[in-house]
Amino acid sequence: MSDLAALVVQQSLNGVYLGCLYVMVALGLTLIYGVLNQINFAHADFVTVGAFTAFFAATRFATKVLGLPDAAGYLLSIIAATGMGAVLGLAINAAVFAPLRERGDELRPLIATIGVSVLLENAQLALFGPIPYQFDSPFARETIRIGRVFFSAQSLLVVLISAASIGALYAFLRFTFLGKALRAVAQDRETAGLMGINQGLLIGLTIVIASALAGMAGALLGPVLVLSPFAGASVIVKAFAIVIIGGFGNMQGTIIAGILVGIIEAFTVQYLGSGLIDLVVFVLLLAMLVVRPTGLIAERKEENV
């Protein structure tokens, strides 16, 4: 393989890995928007909660209490973070979002997401303090080398888990009764209600799934992020950009946009400079808004989620 070819393959792999991390964060955002037409400003904090849950599950519980090896401990921590995300989503929906939705106000639930964000951030600050934690995945220590191309076992794990999660979510939405009902609510909430579908339950389910995805994303991002109560904030702006580029509420668009942004970032670092990453991504975002405001995948409400 020539130098240039090896470099292109390497940066493409780096980009796909980074893109998968972004997709995992952005999927929950787009799912909530697709069903509720609502932006969740607390999503970054669910990611951070997931990262902290994974950290404590892996470093304190799995290895020290259960005596599991590091690798098994980390895998278990991903499940714990996903579960914690789901439970937190369920609790916050029941305590905050559902009562506000019942009042029929569109604005209050949106503002409530900001309140939840501040609450979660400060609760984590009080619990864990501001000094960054060091969360190392045992998979990050293993480097796989094929010729001149390398990647860590962690990046392979991230790609595999992302693919599996996307596949599972797709299958759930396409082939299960609940998934079909959820799509019906996304298409037309009122008509779905007239057909006997319990909107409140399905909206709650959407928030739980999105929060679980955020928790899982936190577990995968934990070993990448500088883990502090503000960790999620560093990826959420990019995730919002991806959701807009992909087409707000459109899952396929979000996946394509996430991978695309990851690859663009990797090649921007190589040829333009890492200091220009945000510039390039947000120029792309603005170009999309001007040229194709519906996003990469044209918005067809019935096809979303």
């Binding site: 960054p132 500088v226 503000f230 990826v235 670092v269 400079g273 945000d278």
Partner: protein, 381 residues
Amino acid sequence: MKFASKLALGCAIAVASFVSVAQDRVVRIGVAMPISGPGSYFGVMDKEGIELALEQLKSGVNGYKLQVQYEDSACSPLQATNAVKRMLDQFKPHIVIGEECSDASLAIAPILNDAKVVQLNVGSVTMKLTESGYKYTFRIFPNAEQQSAPLVKVARGVLKAQTAVILHEKTNAGNDNAEGFKKPFEAQGGKVLADIDFGRDVNDFTAIATRIASLGKVDVLPTFALEGQQVRLAQALAQAKIVKGGGGNAVQIGSIWLPYGFDQKAGEAAQGYVRIVQFDPSEKRKVVQDFVKAFKAKYGQDKVPTHINAHAYDAILLIAEAVRRGAHDSESIRDAFSKFKDVEVTTGRITFDAKGQTSDLSVVHFVQTQPDLSWKALSWQ
């Protein structure tokens, strides 16, 4: 009766005067530090250092109490500006310690100088802070030039480096440190293959490591970023087999930014990392060992103080020294600071130059991360 009234009145006046004098005999110290946001770990460590020093000085200095008020400046120019304005308005400090981040420190410097209140900086790097002609600004943290110059000396003189890739965060501090390395390194015949900057929101450094690997033979990688990013960067460079910690040949070299404990966080990727330190908890000077002992007694035996703890602790010691020499307000503190000569604190012997910058770097020395992740102090200066 008349006499008794007069006596009572006289006593009342005397008590009131005494109370008034007692209340006045206070030196008010404002502290503008990041308590929220990603830089809040600075604030936590600063507060630990300050609280320890205040505890040791609780009986007062020269008849004066040291009174401290903390404000959250969040490493942000806007929040720091608001915090300092609020402090000036309500607390009326004689001196303000802060900020840690260069951008925020630069934002508050003109405000404090206009108000003729001393600014004592303990953690910012940017040259502009003491190069802008502020008469009330003092700094005990080595500036970008003071930190970068020894790195160039070692890179060229000891490591015999011909090529370098500079890595730095895109801030006033990072830019100044990078510039401070680049110019003299090139002037001495070295070649900078790339000057790579990045935002504080960058988490994954694999693409940057890949780019560096494609640049050919790199001898040294001067790196200027906060600890969290440095850990990830070192790990990515090791994974790409660029640095010694990953089996490569390049040596990562760094500045005082990195606190004690970085090596354990970065793991084997940090092996061979060479950097300068201003505060070394293993240093034999009595003031250092007393500080380490007191710090552990207060915060736990397993807790080793970092340079951030030490700088904040020193700030209070320096103010106390000024008060001991008769200072009691902003003007007299400024005058006392200007006359300081080799005042010994944990991070060195403080003598401010005409611009308010600490000028004695005799305690700054190099350390190298060993295979067991401990420090080895090197004699390079």
